[in-house]
């Protein structure tokens, strides 16, 4: 596979990870003003030709690729060359960053204040910082942080400023420009803005990609962007977007730089600022438009406690070593390099594989808090709330299990488990309530009697989805064993081959939902079997596998983990089979299925509130489209292939009857 270097397999227990240092500690004892005014002398790329943001712009504008496309566009549209060039210049003006140290210093001051109020600590692995510093000197660097919050890129720049590293140039969505003043502020702190969609606009693409490539080739500054493309509302990693990754790799593939270092960065929040916001969004309450006044209204969040942040700078990955043996760079030899050409299939594969591996690296280095484990347990036992002691006992069990599975768990071992549990519950008081010694998933003091059953349902769903977003942080740890566990449960026979077939099917269906590296089915299966066997849950021989007695508990837990997703996909299938009206379009799909589910929930035929998540609906639809059970017809309408869809549903549901799913089987 493309890269052993991105993340290594083998025993996850042996994974070596760096220690963290709290960078707020120093901020709390010394002057923020002095910090903001400090002498800032970052190390630079050794091959750098110094230049300003403006020379960068004009270099991109006058580059061969942009010139080429300008000429092409002029020829095809019949516009004057100068007009097209002016257009390109306008695009560039709209896009380009204007990094100013003074703005950065302003942010440094403000953010110090904000961070100190919001967070207990901001923890950074300093060894990662040192590696990054080294990498910046050697080759152009691309920073790839995970994206969970608006805070992410402010936080990144803040960290780099603190550690005297050159400030990144950040790809940001155009929507920020909607915020007057703030948009410009961000621009001056190094953000450049790209339109969310520019479909077939060749000129835009050329200008944009050349602008980024110019930055990379010149080594001007680290380029930062989010592989996931957007903030993940569910805290699961999103399927990576390849556009920008393609662009930053191209200078290497075409030989214009010797190498490019990709640095995955995992940012883990103990409590996400947008927590409830995301849940509402998933339930269909539209996302408020970014606006300056909105930002001020959000001030109230300043009064709350958001725990700590962990930022882990991963091992820089050399594109050169990744590409070795996978991409034949000679493919670019037979054409001038500035003429845009469709990349070869092997190159597309390579970029895709790399993207997945980088997201996996982000996942693996993300820090899990005890609350994540608690949320997982609470969600699985919604019906029968546990007592504090039960919860503590199960949490300890899960702690050990997750450690064996290689989770990067930050469990304060010096504290008594019950203390850990109660302090976690306290931090997330908005989601749980302890009454009569039992832990309920409820908002404290919510008086719901007055509202309609539907409102009640939705407000509970907000709670569940918020909770689920924490559980999702741990999904990547348990995902592969959980898929095997589900496959074992679904297959009555103990034959390994059959389990594998089932595993493969599930993995395929869920590959839009979770980060599952393409083409690594066998590897994932073996890794999962290894883990299950190591923890004594499975007994695996050459051809057979059997669940051990003590393994039942683990398997219950693991299948429970996948349960909401399985149910969700089944509901989507059912909906399409039953209600697929002629005029169902991709747009009307989401509201329609939401209504369908609410109806069923109210009738008690469905129990899992999580299936209301629109993210799940989208992923399920994408999976069905991919599997050919649904296809896209004219005007975005969806056509259902009933036979195929039925077979998918049967395979998912019929073969997979986990014990408590009966009610969900419509």
């Amino acid at each position: 596979m493309a890269s052993k270097a991105v993340y290594t397999r083998g025993d996850p227990m042996l994974k070596k990870r760096d220690d963290f240092e709290d960078m707020l500690e120093e901020r709390r004892i010394s002057s923020d003003l002095r910090f903001a005014a400090k002498c800032f002398m970052p190390v630079l790329y050794k091959g750098l030709t110094p230049c300003t943001p403006d020379t960068l712009k004009s270099a991109a504008l006058h580059s061969d690729p942009v010139n080429y496309v300008i000429h092409q566009v002029a020829k095809e549209t019949g516009k004057a060359l100068d007009d097209v060039r002016a257009e390109a210049e306008a695009i560039l003006d709209e896009m380009a960053h204007r990094l100013q140290l003074s703005t950065v210093r302003f942010f440094a001051f403000m953010l110090s204040k904000v961070f100190k109020t919001l967070f207990h600590s901001v923890n950074v692995n300093e060894e990662g910082i040192q590696r990054l510093q080294q990498a910046i000197q050697e080759h152009p660097v691309v920073l790839l942080p995970s994206h969970r919050s608006y805070m992410d890129f402010l936080l990144m720049s803040y960290i780099l400023y603190t550690y005297d590293l050159s400030l990144p140039v950040i790809a940001a969505g155009m929507d920020f420009m909607g915020m007057k003043f703030v948009g410009e502020m961000l621009r001056m702190s190094g953000a450049f803005f790209i339109r969310r969609s520019f479909g077939g606009d060749r000129l835009y693409w050329a200008v944009f990609s050349e602008y980024v490539k110019t930055i990379v080739k010149n080594g001007y500054a680290p380029v930062e962007f989010f592989l996931e493309g957007t903030r993940s509302r569910t805290a699961k990693s999103l399927t990576p977007k390849l556009g920008l990754l393609n662009i930053v790799m191209e200078p290497f593939l075409k030989g214009e730089v010797f190498d490019v270092s990709l640095v995955p960065v995992s940012i883990s929040y103990e409590r996400i600022l947008e927590e409830a916001l995301y849940a509402r969004e998933l339930l269909g309450v539209p996302k408020p438009k970014e606006s300056t006044s909105g930002l001020f209204k959000a001030r109230k969040i300043l009064r709350e406690d958001y725990g700590s942040i962990h930022v882990y700078f991963g091992q820089p990955v050399s594109v050169r070593s990744l590409a070795h043996g996978h991409v034949d760079r000679c493919q670019f030899n037979l054409m001038p390099r500035h003429i845009p050409a469709r990349p070869r299939e092997e190159t597309v594969h390579f970029v895709n594989n790399t993207a997945y591996r980088l997201v996996r690296a982000q996942e693996e280095n993300s820090v899990l808090k005890p609350w994540v484990l608690l949320a997982t347990l609470l969600l699985q036992k919604q019906e029968a709330p546990m007592t504090l002691d039960e919860l503590t006992e199960r949490a300890v069990w899960l702690r050990d299990l997750s450690r064996q599975y290689g989770a990067f768990l930050h469990w304060p071992d010096q504290m008594h488990p019950s203390e850990v549990v109660s302090s976690s519950l306290a931090l997330h008081g908005g989601l749980v309530r302890v009454s009569e010694g039992r832990v309920h998933l409820e908002q404290a003091g919510a008086a719901e009697a007055a509202s309609s059953p539907e409102d009640q349902l939705l407000s509970r769903a907000v709670l569940v989805l918020s909770c689920a977003s924490y559980r999702n942080q741990a999904l990547h740890v348990f995902l592969r064993p959980a898929l095997v566990a589900s496959a074992v449960r679904a297959t009555s026979s103990a034959r390994k081959v059959e389990v594998f077939d089932c595993f493969r099917f599930l993995r395929d269906v869920f590959s839009n939902e979770f980060i599952l590296c393409p083409g690594a089915t066998m590897q994932d299966f073996e890794e999962a079997c290894y883990l299950l066997e190591k923890t004594g849950a499975l007994h695996v021989t050459q051809h057979d596998m059997a669940v051990t007695k003590r393994g039942q508990k683990t398997l219950d837990f693991l299948t429970g983990m996948l349960e909401p997703f399985l149910q969700g996909y089944l509901v989507v299938c059912r909906f399409l089979l039953e209600e697929s009206a002629e005029a169902l379009t991709q747009k009307s799909f989401i509201p329609a299925i939401r209504q369908f589910i609410i109806k069923h929930l109210l009738q008690g035929r469905l129990t899992q509130l999580e299936v209301l998540s629109s993210d799940l609906h989208k992923n399920a639809l994408a999976a069905l489209l991919r599997l050919g059970a649904v296809r896209r017809a004219q005007q975005d309408t969806l056509r259902v292939n009933k036979v195929k869809l039925q077979s998918v549903e049967d395979a998912l549901g019929g073969k997979l009857p986990p014990p408590n799913v009966a009610s969900a089987r419509l």
């Binding site: 030989g255 214009e256 010797f258 760079r329 000679c330 670019f332 030899n333 001038p336 390099r337």
Partner: protein, 710 residues
Amino acid sequence: MNAAHFSPQPYDSYTLSRRQHGSSMASGSDGGSESQQVAQQRLRIIAGHLRAPADSGSAIVAAECKAQGSEADAVQQEKRTMPRRRQDIMKWNGWGYSDSRFLFNKKGQAEFTGKRYRLSGMIIPGLKDWFESTFGASLQHKTPPTPLLNNNAVQAPTLNEPFVDDLKSSGIPFSHDAEDRVFRSHGHCLHEIFAMREGRFGRLPDVVVWPNCHNDVVKVVELACKHNVCVIPYGGGTSVSSALECPADEARCIVSLDTSQMNRILWIDEKNLTAHLEAGIIGQDLERQLNESGYCTGHEPDSMEFSSVGGWVATRASGMKKNIYGNIEDLVVHVKMVTPRGVIEKSCQGPRMSTGPDVHHFIMGSEGTLGVVTEVTMKIRPMPEYQKYGSVVFPNFEKGVACLREVAKQRCAPASIRLMDNEQFKFGHALKPQVSSLFTSFLDGLKKLYITKFKGFDQNRLCVATLLFEGDREKVLQHEKQVYDIAAKFGGLAAGEDNGQRGYMLTFVIAYLRDLGMDYYVIGESFETSVPWDRVLDICRNVKARIVGECKDKGVQFPPLSTCRVTQTYDAGACVYFYFAFNYRGLADPVHVYEQVEHAAREEILANGGSLSHHHGGKTSSRGFSFASRERSYACARLNVQDLCDTMTNHKHNPNTEVCNCAGVSVVVIIILILYVRLAGQIPIIFLILIMFPLPNEGGVTGVSRRAKS
């Protein structure tokens, strides 16, 4: 029949530089018989440092060659440089003449011995510091070569007695003396020289023969066919493509066919400006003898002191003055080659033909796998009236390349224009001989001050282009101005003739310097590529960086020397030449490490759009690539060859029929498709097919004649 396999590739490719220019320029300030004066001066110069040794006098001329040999031939024989016993004047385990070498004297100063070169007998004060700081080498740590050739270590020859008997009766001189055989068992690849220095000999040629003329070669090849003996042609012996290596598993007798005694200029045609040469003549003799008549070929590969005309043809050589005179493919008018199935040659000396693929293009670059080149007609030019060196300093390499590109675009490249990178500039600087006068050193100091302080050039980034102009005095001066004007646009400053000349000197001493390095744990080699203009900078940067990175990975303890120069310009691209050397202390198998790094570097070259080689020829160590890069064109060729093989079997097996046909053929189309495919082992398979399509005779001219020898 067909038994004589021409083992891998023969001949000298001509890298490992060695060229010289007598003085910076021919004076030529007085008018009058300027050209004569120039000619004489040039002669003096060449005589000065290429002093021909007294002939060994053992010239045995085979009977039938004597017939052609006029008195003039006898005179030429006197002047020839290369005796049959080459080891008498040349190193058997290093580069060049035995009396010329670099060494660190007792005071620790570098010195070049002998009297042949301009640098001979001089102290080079800067070399030691450069050597120690660049490689981390130390004069305390020596790795001297095995001093004497140990005859016991040499395998006894595998003699094919009937062949030897026939050879004896033919009267062609031959030998199976160990020294002769060892000398011809290798070229100048690093691994070959390294093994020689350690006194390790692999498979050697079993017999060395010295044919005296074309007919002798025909006879030798014929005998080889008859007795199933391998032939490896040997010209100057400067090959860097492992072409002279004998396959270790070859059980048959291997004959090294040394062309050094075929070294006459057979005629000069002043009307058409061509000269007909025997293929064994070496560059320096050719140039000297032509100069006597007021002509030159202008073909000056870096190895021209030792490499031969036949070798140039067989390896598709390129000379540094190709901008005026052209590469070998532009210079060759006619070639005669002896193959196992007869002699190939064109029937005319016309400048161009359009009857199918050009036979010459199969011969050039075939590296001896198809036959022995015996005679060549080459273009000649009147000697240039005026020669002038020059140099330009650029603030950085990027600017320099941009300037060269512009020069190429305007098609005003001087005879030679080369751009050295910063490391190579420093290298050249370290080779400055001790200056005698205080004034010169004062001037040097001023120059340096001006460039670095006043002009603000960074000493660690600047690079220098060296120039050589040739032609009429006035035109040269005009040309010079044009080039300097272009350079000025790219921030270049004229830096004097001296720097330019030293740049060229570097090329000819580099091979001697490698021997010095090998005395102190430093090994290195050069390789080259040709690449489109837009990729020149990228390839230079990436290949150099790759070398440094790979060395680190492979456990080399000290940073290597990894440097390049843009050494030729073309309309559509340039030739880039890389030097790579490192200190191998602490490595168990330095040659292997070297080869791994070189392999990686070549991989990088290919990935960056460069060719495998511009002029060194196909190296066996890059075999894996060779196939890939030739694959496309050859795969087609092979299919066709095999098809044709099947349909044309009659012709193939009975060459005489064709000869008969020849007489009455109006149009003869010859397709020669050549393929050598190396299988897992080292056995080259040669497909050589001559196909003739006889058409109804109208009593026309014979297009191509081919004499079968059986």
